[in-house]
């Protein structure tokens, strides 16, 4: 029982990271109808920026953190202008192929610059964690969970209560109508890319102390996040969060009770099974196309 609680905590912690990245994917999908296959690389790049600032240059943790996120905002701008924007009038296939290209470009550029050696990033807190009854609560996992919860509320407030959030929603639902109402669609899409890149970066910076900072971390996280979005029902914000958390839990228990080397396979098996049984996901996406 103690082990179960401990695994549950770890599962939720790692699941929260998947949820953050999944949230970024869903936001871009809702704004552009395209899945960004480079979303995981945003996390990877942010983690490396963090290593450069906090470890290599020895700058204060909080400053490095802010700089890394600022760097991600810039990357979001470049990504939109270089990858999505020129292709915005084409069908989705060229765009996703371009984002896959971008993902490979980002991962291997970092590899070329920094080398294949995995890096270590210390956690935010000096205290490694606290013992609460039978469960050991790792401080970094606690931080991840707290940030995720805070972001879910922020997201709700931002999209439902602010004018900018409502404009973003209008853009994602009907671009032509939004532009006729005087909303600058390209500005809204730019904001979405910046926000998603920062979200992805945040996930990367938070999870870096738990995992090693490596080139592969981006694709590993991204694939889990994709699975999370599908499990939650594509395009659904709440679904992405719940999908991410459940994947984290499935994976942690699978690794503890079944097999460690195949840890990464459980997420995909869960995904394929779900696609066969309930293709519209837990929360359901409207699939039909209008004639």
């Amino acid at each position: 029982m103690d082990l179960v609680l401990q695994l549950l905590f770890t599962g939720i912690g790692i699941g929260a990271v998947y949820a953050l990245v999944a949230l970024g994917i869903v936001l871009i999908f809702r704004a552009t109808n395209v899945v960004n296959f480079a979303q995981g690389e945003f996390s990877m790049v942010a983690a490396y920026l963090m290593v450069v600032f906090a470890v290599d240059l020895g700058w204060p943790y909080w400053l490095s953190f802010l700089l890394a996120l600022a760097g991600m905002a810039l990357l979001g701008v470049i990504f939109n202008l270089g990858v999505y924007y020129p292709l915005r009038h084409r069908s989705f296939l060229p765009v996703i192929i371009a984002t896959i290209g971008a993902s490979i470009l980002l991962a291997n550029s970092v590899l070329a610059i920094y080398g294949p050696q995995p890096q270590v990033l210390p956690g935010w807190f000096d205290t490694p964690g606290i013992q609460l009854g039978p469960v050991y609560l790792d401080s970094q996992y606690l931080l991840i969970i707290a940030v995720t919860v805070a972001l879910v509320f922020f997201n709700y407030w931002f999209f439902e209560k602010t004018m900018l959030g409502k404009k973003l929603q209008a853009t994602s639902q009907d671009k032509e109508m939004a532009s006729l109402l005087g909303i600058s669609v390209s500005a809204m899409i730019m904001i979405t890319f910046i926000y998603s890149a920062v979200l992805g970066g945040l996930a990367g910076v938070l999870v870096a102390p738990v995992l090693f900072v490596s080139i592969q971390m981006g694709s590993t996280i991204a694939l889990k996040a994709f699975a999370a979005t599908i499990i939650g029902g594509f395009g659904d914000v709440a679904g992405a969060i719940i999908g991410g958390l459940s994947l984290g839990i499935i994976e942690t228990f699978g690794a503890a009770y079944i097999s460690v080397p195949y840890k990464d396979a459980f997420a995909f098996l869960a995904l394929v099974l779900l696609l066969i049984i309930r293709p519209q996901g837990i929360f359901g996406e409207r699939v039909a196309e209008k004639a």
Partner: protein, 593 residues
């Protein structure tokens, strides 16, 4: 639109086509020369390895040209399928000493089954899912290759892989691979002109329309995906024999990306493009070997190349030249002459062609169509009218199978089609056009209509050979007055003419009942008059038409029978003039005082 005189057969002498095999003789001679060269020239080991790699990779990339180029479905796990073939040959010959041929066949079969199962689980859902699931699949296979040490030897890989006795020498084996490449290349080259190939292109261009004109969309996609997987498996099997050693890193996601880049660079739509892309991406890295000293730089350039190709050269190197060539050829090649179109609608059932009873379609709480009855008499023109939002188009979509009926029953010529998917309804004799035109935009007018003519159960195309299809399609295009422009691409036709091509596509299938969804929408007054003439000529041949339109002049002149819907319910039904004077109809259109 055109004068009726164009409906007459045009007297143009058509040169007799030489038999297919004779026309393709240059290809086979070229292939034979390539095989002979591979078998006789003494290459040094380095050059031999490059040729071996290029030959086997090209076969795998042909697979992508089928699934992505022809059918528009993405496959990011080609390296995994390549790996199935390679490991089947590797483990089979090295560990279990089974015959090479058996292993090669087994590898292809494993790839086929894996591809079909993967496709069946995701292809209903569309592109994003497919991309994610194939990436996931690729990752699982890599994990298995690394961790299932009892089977795959893990990261050490499999060495001392055997070759068939017949091709023991490196030279003989290379010649064998080149021969396989030639055969596969020929098949993939001609696939677009076969029934399956046309179906794939239709699915790529417009899935919805493909279903409605009789293509089994799902089966076509699964076939394309499975075919691509088999070619991957075959290529992998040949690769394993050629290099005698395989290890998991040769079949990773990065390799899948390399295959994708090769295919995009050369031109995804054609095997020639695939071959060009494969050759270039194997040779260029050899010339730029110094780049390999920095890990990652190499793949970073690949990633950048993918973005740039997609942006600036979406059809690849070959596509760029082929488009220019096609444009030139389309202008010079005159279409063959055509006889007058014969419509012989099937007459199995009784006097009523379409019997709809209690048809309902609810979207959540919204009753878009609510208990509607329609009886369409054989040989007449029946109109379905109603104000905006009255449920007309929803009714049509339920009739053609794009929406599932919530309740009710649809009988077409005595057959219950209520639960059939669109392509089966088409096979049962239903033809339709769309309000917002849905043609296959990358094809010529003739090709569009040919796919329509290919409807299963079409009695007017004999055995369904290519010549019969072309003839039937030409007849249909001539019937609507566009015969002389048959070989032009859809994009070069005006809106009104595109509408006519859609009608020709439906007519070529020789349907029992033709559904026209607002055919007059967006047409100018001259075009509307010509449309009216065309409808008369269609009706004169005894084809039953169910038409939806707003244009009251067209409807009242063309239709003998009218059904009126409002708020999803039938408010009037009967002979045209009587219905149009019906007080409920007048108030629905003009409002009440």
């Amino acid at each position: 639109m055109s004068a009726p005189s164009e409906n007459m057969p045009i007297a143009v002498s058509v040169p007799r086509l030489k038999p297919l095999l004779l026309r393709h003789l240059p290809y086979f001679i070229g292939a034979a020369v390539a095989v002979a060269l591979a078998a006789t020239i003494q290459f040094d080991g380095y050059v031999h390895n490059i040729l071996m790699q290029a030959t086997t990779f090209a076969i795998a990339v042909f697979g992508l040209s089928v699934v992505l180029g022809l059918c528009g479905q993405i496959n990011l796990a080609q390296a995994a399928f390549f790996g199935f073939g390679a490991y089947a040959v590797g483990i089979g010959t090295a560990d279990y000493h089974i015959s090479y041929w058996l292993c090669l066949v087994a590898g292809c079969l494993i790839a086929l089954v894996a591809g079909a199962v993967l496709g069946m689980s995701t292809l209903r859902l569309g592109g994003h899912y497919l991309a994610m699931v194939t990436i996931s699949f690729q990752q699982i296979i890599t994990l298995v290759m690394i961790n299932a040490i009892w089977l795959t030897h893990g990261p050490d890989g499999v060495s001392r892989i055997g070759r068939p006795d017949l091709f023991q020498s490196a030279q003989g084996y290379l010649a064998f691979c080149v021969a396989v490449l030639a055969i596969v290349g020929y098949t993939v080259w001609h696939l677009p002109d076969t029934r399956l190939g046309r179906a794939m292109r239709a699915v790529r261009d417009n899935e919805l329309a493909a279903g409605v004109i009789g293509v089994d969309v799902f089966r076509t996609k699964v076939s394309a995906f499975a075919l691509s997987a088999v070619l991957g498996g075959l290529a992998g099997g040949l690769f394993a024999g050629g290099f005698a050693y395989v290890s998991p890193d040769q079949f990773s996601f990065a390799e899948s990306v390399v295959f994708l880049t090769m295919s995009l660079l050369g031109g995804v739509a054609s095997p020639i493009g695939s071959a060009i892309g494969t050759g270039l991406l194997i040779l260029i890295p050899e010339w730029l070997r110094f780049l390999k000293s920095i890990p990652g730089l190499y793949l970073a350039i690949y990633g950048l190349a993918v973005i740039l190709i997609i942006r600036f050269m979406p059809d690849g190197i070959w596509g760029f030249f082929a488009t220019a060539f096609d444009r030139w050829r389309a202008q010079t090649k005159a279409p063959p002459a055509a006889a007058a179109l014969q419509l012989k609608p099937a007459t199995v059932g009784g006097d009523i062609v379409l019997e709809v009873t209690g048809l309902s379609k609810y979207f959540g709480g919204l009753k878009a169509v609510d208990g509607v009855d329609i009886q369409v008499r054989r040989g007449g023109v029946h109109a379905l009218i109603g104000p905006n939002g009255s449920g007309k188009t929803t009714t049509l979509n339920v009739l053609s199978g794009l929406y599932k009926a919530t309740a009710g029953k649809i009988l077409l010529d005595g057959t219950d089609i209520t639960t059939m998917p669109p392509h089966q309804r088409t096979a049962a004799g239903l033809g339709r056009t769309f309000q917002n035109i849905r043609l296959f935009r990358s094809m010529t007018a003739l090709e569009n209509v040919e796919i329509g003519a290919e409807r299963p159960g079409n009695t007017m195309i004999g055995q369904g050979g290519d010549a019969a299809l072309t003839e039937r399609a030409m007849e249909a295009l001539t019937f609507v007055g566009l015969g002389s422009r048959a070989n032009q691409l859809i994009s070069s036709f005006s809106y009104g003419h595109q509408r006519l091509i859609e009608i020709a596509r439906a007519l070529a299938a020789n349907p029992t009942l033709l559904l026209l969804d607002e055919p007059a929408a967006g047409l100018n007054s001259t075009e509307k008059l010509e449309l009216h003439e065309l409808l008369k000529r269609i009706a004169a041949q005894g084809l039953t038409i169910l038409i939806i339109d707003h244009d009251m002049t067209l409807v009242s002149e063309a239709a003998q029978h009218i059904t009126v819907l409002n708020f999803g319910r039938r408010i009037a039904d009967g002979e045209s003039m009587a219905v149009l004077r019906h007080p409920d109809v007048v108030s629905a259109y003009l409002g009440t005082e």
